[in-house]
């Protein structure tokens, strides 16, 4: 009886750690699409054994998805999973990809991108990542501005508004989080519209161009997400990926 109770408690702990691993993976984003790997269907397996060894397998929409972004996702997943309390050993790997061997070896060795792709890369991926967070800021700007306009706010007033004036909710907090990542102004009292590179407030004469770029960037990001989801489904027909709008 005692033994059974002990095993039951152990199984409970393992289930809790497994659940925490899935939650951790939910914080890892595809840097291009700005969506969690778990929503995109990119996590094919995440398990933890009673000893705390976490095994995670990732899959992507195509065999030839860009290796730099693939590396970021595997490395970020490794960092997120290894930080989960109760995980004693982390095994994260990408399947079915032309550069899987180099990526998996490099991430497991904590080697960085340049060392993982010797001779093929000259720098780490921080600048690439930041470029795509800036795109996420623009796309997020379109989301919150559309909500404001739908609420009857006049377009010309947008440069005078603050982030706190945007409707409360997930879109605003997502935009705030991306701005924070880039060290851009992100408090409620900061301008609603900022240049994603300099952080300077957008001036009225820049409004049309800024909103045009924001809409375009969101369209691009969402169209890419649609293509990626469709390709993943065509590649792995048995999986049930959550469908985005459109």
């Amino acid at each position: 009886m005692t033994t059974v109770e002990y095993q039951g408690a152990g199984a409970g702990r393992t289930a809790a750690v497994t659940s925490a691993v899935w939650s951790a993976l939910g914080t890892v984003r595809d840097p291009e699409l700005d969506e969690p790997l778990t929503d995109l269907g990119f996590v094919s397996r995440a398990e933890v054994n009673p000893a705390g060894r976490a095994v995670v397998r990732l899959r992507l929409p195509t065999y030839f998805c860009a290796p730099n972004f693939a590396f970021l996702m595997v490395a970020d997943a490794y960092d997120a999973v290894s930080a989960v309390a109760g995980v004693t050993e982390t095994d994260v790997a990408l399947d079915d990809h032309f550069a899987a061997a180099a990526i998996n070896r490099g991430v497991a060795a904590r080697a960085g991108f340049v060392a993982s792709f010797e001779g093929e890369a000259v720098d780490e991926l921080d600048a690439l990542r930041a470029d795509f967070v800036r795109k996420a800021v623009l796309a997020g700007t379109d989301r919150v501005c559309r909500a404001l306009l739908a609420n009857g706010v006049e377009r010309e007033r947008l440069p005078g508004l603050t982030l706190g004036d945007a409707p409360e909710g997930a879109d605003r907090e997502r935009l705030r989080a991306r701005r924070r990542e880039l060290s851009l102004p992100a408090d409620d009292g900061d301008p609603l519209l900022v240049d994603p590179v300099t952080g300077a407030a957008v001036r009225p004469e820049q409004l049309a161009r800024h909103l045009g770029l924001a809409r375009l960037t969101r369209t691009s990001q969402e169209a890419n997400s649609g293509v990626c989801r469709g390709m993943l489904h065509a590649r792995y027909p048995h999986i049930d990926t959550r469908e985005g709008e459109g």
Binding site: E32, P61, T62, Y63, F64, C65, A66, P67, N68, F98, F113, V114, F117, G119, E120, A121, V122, D123, E124, L125, A127, L128, D131, K135, L138, R146, A150, Q206, A208, R209, G212, L213, R215, L216, T217, T219, S220, E222, A223, N224, G226, V227, G230, M231, H233, A234, R235, E245, G246
Partner: protein, 345 residues
């Protein structure tokens, strides 16, 4: 030609292929890549209507008869432009070469235009061979795949000084249409492989050439559109946009078409079915039937007119390639329309 509701559309398919990706053509030791490439293409086909999906073996290698049927008998295509993708590192006889395309073209006079390629990594010998191909096949265009692997190289950039020599040769030979196709690898790998700034650079330097960016720079539509507003000689190839989005993601298709009309305008958009990834028939018929939905999110975008669709489906490409359009299929007058766009800072 396609006729609908009394309107006649002259159809130029600006992006077609005759490929061989059958296992017999895989280079020993490179099978993984050859297989991965064609399976990736096959997955793209999955974004089209289910009744147009092919089994993988047919998709790997299809017959001349099937291609002629799909394009010209039922696909409404008047003229198709071959865009080669060599990939000789993975496929013994190449994946989709100028030579294979030209052989098919010769059997069917007037149906095709044969584009070739250049690769600045091929040096002086490559330059001579390029000139020979252009003269032999009467090429008016090239298709450049900058992510192509060659030895240890994972790709090249149009900014490379060697590329400029080839573009000068294009000007000299009258090869005025430069189709650029971005892929997932370049050197160095830490940069964004889909970045279009190299096209911006050469479009500025070579004003006499037209640069047609295939699949509208997807996955970088935003960078592409913004670049295109600043360059008069940059065009959008609609391969993948129509095939990959119109059926599978109609709302995003509407948004992307809206953005393309907004930033580039109706004279800069070039239809391409991207056969054999997608058959032209459903794309041509679907595009003629398609209209911008009346949706709040799409309220910035105007409906497409019949004239605009005629330009996009064929008349724009006919202009770039000097293709004779029968008198009854031309527009009464063809004013060049400026994109709406947004002026720079």
């Amino acid at each position: 030609m396609y006729t609908k509701d009394g309107e006649k559309y002259f159809v130029v398919d600006g992006h077609t292929h005759f490929w061989d990706a059958s296992p017999e053509n895989w280079v020993p030791g490179q099978e993984e890549y050859a297989k991965g490439w064609i399976e990736c293409f096959h997955a793209y086909q999955g974004l089209g209507p289910a009744d147009t999906h092919w089994p993988l073996d047919r998709f790997q290698k299809y017959s001349e008869e099937l291609m002629m049927h799909d394009l010209f008998e039922v696909g409404h295509v008047d003229v198709a432009i071959f865009q080669p993708t060599n990939l000789r590192q993975w496929y013994t006889n190449g994946f989709n070469t100028t030579e294979a395309n030209a052989a098919l073209s010769e059997k069917h006079p007037g149906k095709f235009r044969v584009n070739t390629y250049f690769d600045p990594r091929e040096g002086d010998a490559g330059m001579r061979a390029f000139e020979e191909r252009v003269k032999r096949y009467g090429c008016k265009g090239v298709k450049l795949y900058t992510a192509e692997w060659r030895g240890d190289s994972r790709g090249w950039s149009l900014k490379d000084p060697e590329a400029a020599k080839y573009l000068e040769k294009c000007e000299e030979l009258g090869v005025k249409n430069i189709h650029v196709h971005k892929g997932p690898t370049i050197w160095p790998l830490d940069k964004d492989a889909f970045d279009v700034s190299d096209i911006d650079y050469v479009a500025t330097n070579f004003q006499g050439l037209n640069f047609i960016v295939e699949h509208v720079g997807l996955p970088r539509i935003e960078d592409f559109c913004f670049m295109a507003t600043q360059e008069r000689n940059v065009y959008a190839g609609l391969a993948v946009v129509v095939g990959g989005l119109m059926h599978a993601r109609p709302k995003f298709f509407a948004k992307v078409m809206g953005e393309l009309m907004f930033w580039l305008g109706e004279d800069k958009l070039i239809f391409g079915a991207d056969y054999a990834i997608w058959e032209p028939r459903w794309q041509v018929e679907g595009f003629v039937d398609w209209q911008m939905p009346k949706d709040e999110e799409l309220s910035d975008f105007a409906p497409l007119t019949v004239t605009q669709k005629k330009k996009i489906l064929g008349l724009n490409a006919a202009r770039l390639y000097d293709i004779e359009v029968p008198a009854d299929l031309r527009l009464d007058e063809a004013p060049v329309v400026e994109p709406v766009g947004v002026p720079g800072p």
